[in-house]
Amino acid sequence: MIGLIASRLAQIGLTLAALSFAAFLLIGLMPGDPIALAIAGDPRLSAEDAARLRALHGLDTPILQRYLAWAASVLSGEFGHSRLFARPVAELLWPALGSTLLLLGVAVLLSAAFGLLLGALAAARPGARALVDATAILAASAPTFWIGILLIILFAVLLGWLPAGGQSEAGGLDAVRFLVLPVATLAIAGLASWARHAASALTEALSSPWIVTARARGASLRRVLWGHALPNAAPPLVTLAALDAGALVGGALVTETVFARPGMGKLLYDAVMGSDLNLALVALLLIGAVTMAATLSADLALRAIDPRLRDAP
């Protein structure tokens, strides 16, 4: 078990190192380093000033050397300064990460709960199967940002019940009003895969011999479904949660952008649009690390609930 965690952590570290190097190289090949941007912003800077600044910040050294220096400072917890927000990157990252984790956590719980209900409906009532299937395909085909826009139109423009975006200034209960629509957007976007997988896992479990036996001995459909079929259908659903982590994080980026919610996704997007590439790179690495950590914890949870996997390599 500990060996498994160690090897997976090593794999995550290696992936992040490769990703950071590739991204650093790509960004380094782009024209327009921070000095060129500074010159464009201030005509009084001369070519000699630029050369001096480049030497001062080490931008005249080979890219590999620059990458190693950058990696060493990031590993020591020094993330540098954001040109776009004129603040240290670390000050921007942690509040944004908290906001995104809150959004994702609530949305995942909701989409798992409603997805399971829809899946159970499809498994227990074969007549409802086609309806659940159609709903799932439509929900999976609708772009996340469109779901967000439709919810804004319905609840913010037409009904006027909820704010169209942004974040609460008052905090407390008021903050919940700003959370409702983004959470609903992400939950609807994630609902489809939960419903489809729950339906197929529960249908399979319901046709197993022990379920048929339990039914024959007089157990009610409700008891059999939630007491016997669901625990046996849990492993594929936890696997799905692990596989979906990346898509979910992408959905958070779109949702935060649509609702102008300050989170990791919006931070990365703003950094790319404002060509603050250092901030974009650090945000990308943090998002990647969180995603892979989520996948790993889902895999470990899978081993905890399925004893058959514990002895597997």
């Binding site: 990703l19 782009m30 439709l150 990346g246 898509a247 959905g251 980026l253 060509s275």
Partner: protein, 274 residues
């Protein structure tokens, strides 16, 4: 042809017909999809503008039809590129085995483990002029988006192709052909490749769905097809800005995306069930 395949093809037929008929529609209505008419903003549906006009007074139906050309072209080109690259890599990994197989599959795993959209946003935000692509031209935007999406899209195809190729390589007729002295190139191309068509066609259909969705997302974010060229995604970006003035503008482009993506998904489902 099963029911899902037929339904999927029917869903795709409408946007495909609109894409083909776009110039005809333009001539019929006597309008240009990129020509603003500021005296006619957010016009309601009428004989002159069957679905009304957008924030710059351009005809919505016409822009949807021209947007279909962009979205479907990007979807199909991405799927084609992803299929070619993915099949080649999957086939090679299965045939070569050993270190080459392990390295290629680790790369595929890493690409699957990382969140795709944040990576796509960073790649799409880089300056295309560096690799010699002109900036701002619709066709250059399309090539850029196809290249970026295909760089991630091959993974799904490669995994399916590799799994099928591994099982085919172990089959008796392939081993017999090898024992008879058939060259390795002929063995792989003539006896293994045809066996991949089933799983690969499913992966291709799924790649079309994924590419249409990803292109619309990037265009919505302002990183894909740049206006004034219409794409369903950038039409929705305009619609969100006008959400209080003209909420109806958000309806049609989203429905088009949903129709095309659901169509491709159903085709994949239908092909899988054979």
């Amino acid at each position: 042809m099963n029911a899902r395949l037929r339904l999927g093809l029917a869903c795709l037929a409408l946007p495909a017909a609109a894409a083909l008929a776009a110039p005809l529609l333009s001539a019929l209505l006597g309008l240009d999809p990129a020509e603003p008419d500021l005296f006619n903003r957010f016009a309601p549906p009428s004989a002159a503008n069957p679905l009304g006009t957008d924030d710059l007074g351009r005809d919505v139906l016409l822009r949807l039809a021209y947007g279909a050309r962009v979205s479907l072209a990007v979807g199909l080109a991405t799927a084609l590129a992803a299929t070619l690259i993915g099949t080649a890599i999957g086939l090679f990994a299965a045939w070569a085995g050993g270190v080459a197989d392990a390295v290629l599959m680790r790369v595929a795993d890493a690409l699957l483990a990382l969140p795709a959209l944040p990576l796509l946003v960073i790649l799409a935000g880089l300056d295309p002029a560096v690799v010699g692509l002109p900036r701002g031209e619709p066709i250059a935007d399309m090539i850029r988006i196809v290249a970026i999406l295909a760089a991630f899209g091959w993974v799904g195809v490669a995994r399916l192709a590799r799994a099928q190729a591994l099982s085919t390589l172990a089959r008796d007729h392939v081993r017999a052909a090898r024992a008879l002295g058939v060259s390795e190139a002929r063995l792989v191309l003539r006896h293994v490749l045809p066996a991949l068509s089933g799983p690969v066609s499913v992966a291709t259909a799924l790649a079309v769905a994924g590419a249409v969705l990803a292109e619309s997302t990037l265009s919505f974010l302002g990183l894909g097809i740049a206006p004034p060229a219409p794409s369903w995604g950038n039409m929705l970006a305009g619609a969100q800005e006008a959400v209080f003035e003209a909420p109806q503008a958000a309806l049609w482009p989203g429905l088009c995306i949903m129709l095309a993506v659901a169509g491709a998904t159903l085709v994949a489902d239908g092909l899988r069930r054979g």
